[in-house]
């Protein structure tokens, strides 16, 4: 039987069947994979509104956004000045403070260390900002990495001021 198969030409019918079959299998497999993607109810929660009216200068709150902690810090004049004075050449990941905090009084950052994902502690570390206890990364008052193994600065999420008392993240 296999000899017959070898000597037979590849007929159109067989090729067409195989091709269409492969297309069908691929199309059928996609829903099985896509179902693991974030579902509609999760995607609907992709933005969070936060009331910041009670946050005092120098104080920081942590909110949950998309399952992750977000630091919202109301910086003092001193912290802002310090952040702006840093020479970009000293930074592992050069970023201007103005680009990270459009409204300099408010710093909004994802509170996950860019090294391996621990939550850094506020008001700690050698640069007046945050310190990650897991492997010793130090972040400054703009959330930029200054010392330690973290490769990049703390992430700034998409956010906007809905009004003077409310920030919408995401």
């Amino acid at each position: 039987m296999s000899d017959q198969k070898k000597t037979k030409r590849r007929d159109f019918i067989f090729t067409a069947s195989y091709t269409l079959g492969a297309v069908g299998v691929g199309t059928a497999v996609w829903p099985l994979i896509d179902q693991m993607n974030p579902d509609a109810s999760v995607k609907a929660l992709s933005s969070t509104e936060v009331n910041i009216s009670d946050v005092q200068p120098g104080q920081s709150i942590t909110v949950l956004w998309r399952g992750k902690p977000v630091f919202i810090k109301r910086r003092t004049e001193e912290e802002i000045t310090k952040a702006k004075q840093v020479d970009l050449k000293e930074l592992k990941h050069p970023e201007k403070d103005e680009d990270r905090a459009k409204n300099p009084e408010w710093l909004v950052m994802v509170g996950i260390c860019t090294h391996l994902g621990c939550v850094p502690l506020g008001n700690k570390g050698e640069y007046g900002g945050w310190f990650c206890p897991c492997h010793g990364s130090h972040y400054d008052t703009s959330g930029r990495i200054r010392k330690g193994p973290a490769p990049v600065n703390l992430e700034i999420p998409k956010y906007e001021f809905v009004d003077s008392n409310t920030i919408k993240i995401g």
Partner: protein, 419 residues
Amino acid sequence: MSDQNYTPKSKLGKWFNDRLPLLTLRAHLTDYPTPKNLNYWWTFGAILTFFLIAQIITGIILAMHYIAHADLAFESVEHIMRNVNYGWLIRYFHANGSSMFFLAVYIHIFRSLYYGSHKSPREVIWVIGMIIYFLMMCTAFMGYVLPWGQMSFWAATVITNLFSAVPLVGESITNWLWGGFAVGSPTLTRFYSLHYLFPFLIFGLVILHIWALHIPGNNNPIGIDVKQPSKDTVPFHPYIVLKDLFALLVFLLLFAFFVFYSPNLLGHPDNYIEANPLVTPNHIVPEWYLLPFYAILRSIPNKLLGVIAMFASIFVLVILPWLDTSKVRSAIFRPLYKQFFWFLVADVIILGYMGAMPAEGIYLLVARVATGYYFVHFLIIFPILGYKEKTLDIPLSITDPILGDSTNQSLAKEQINKK
């Protein structure tokens, strides 16, 4: 059987095959000699294998989103239907897939009965098949409880309550099954666990089922043994693979109709009402494929005897190969057996209808007659037919018709040309 002489083409293949002969297995399955006169009733084994795997895959995916707790189960199913990407598709596939699975298994079983595939030397294949069937029914029953609708809850209550019919220890057994004093969340979580487990037991049994089949080889429509493999059989690949694929595609068309255009036709509206222990539905009915057994259960006025009758109706199927005493396999050559076969088909359909009706009045009477006939058919008619029936002459082989009498020659030709 050419697989005994199979050698892999590549060195790596040979190295691996010497240690785990998977390539030999593949060659065996590809070359497996299959009678060339099999008709389309033989394609349901492949259809069943497809549906078992499809149900397992869609089931595992549903399990990623479903929550097995009485307070959250119904809601989690709605979450799958509304929020999960393609969740509605996977859920409707799985729910209607179980109906298709049972439709295929009933055709498969009745095909075996008609052509004598349950008879020697295939008794063990039949018994394994019956175990698979029983596990399928348990799996389907537990699966139906999971959405935690009214039917889920009350069908679970009715069926688990049956165990209280056991003398002395009945109530203890029932409370043990429930994990409480009534069907509740503990019942749901253990049913979920077992519903996930059983299909893998079924999968293992299917492998044994096919292995046991490959020893004597397939039966065929005229029920006589293969005489010359080179003339009577074809290699499984590509002949039977293509035939099975074609049949599967046609079956999938029917399936697509249900999933996409009538996904709730085979279900019960009451299961879209959340389970309420304080309100019993007007009519508690199981899914259609369990209706005949439900009818048998309710036809006996005594609770314990009803349970015994229901289990007996399954057990009588298990011992079937020993009840059928005929030396001739295929119903084609057994005119009386053939008639009674159709009586059985009608009987099972009638039992199914009666299972969906209230157990009173004319319905109860018909159910009782049909139950009686069911047992008479297997326990009395089967053995008697084997001894008393005058069978028709059988052909000599699948390809060579019987020499002599022309009516048998044309009969033999007729069977061979029917594909």
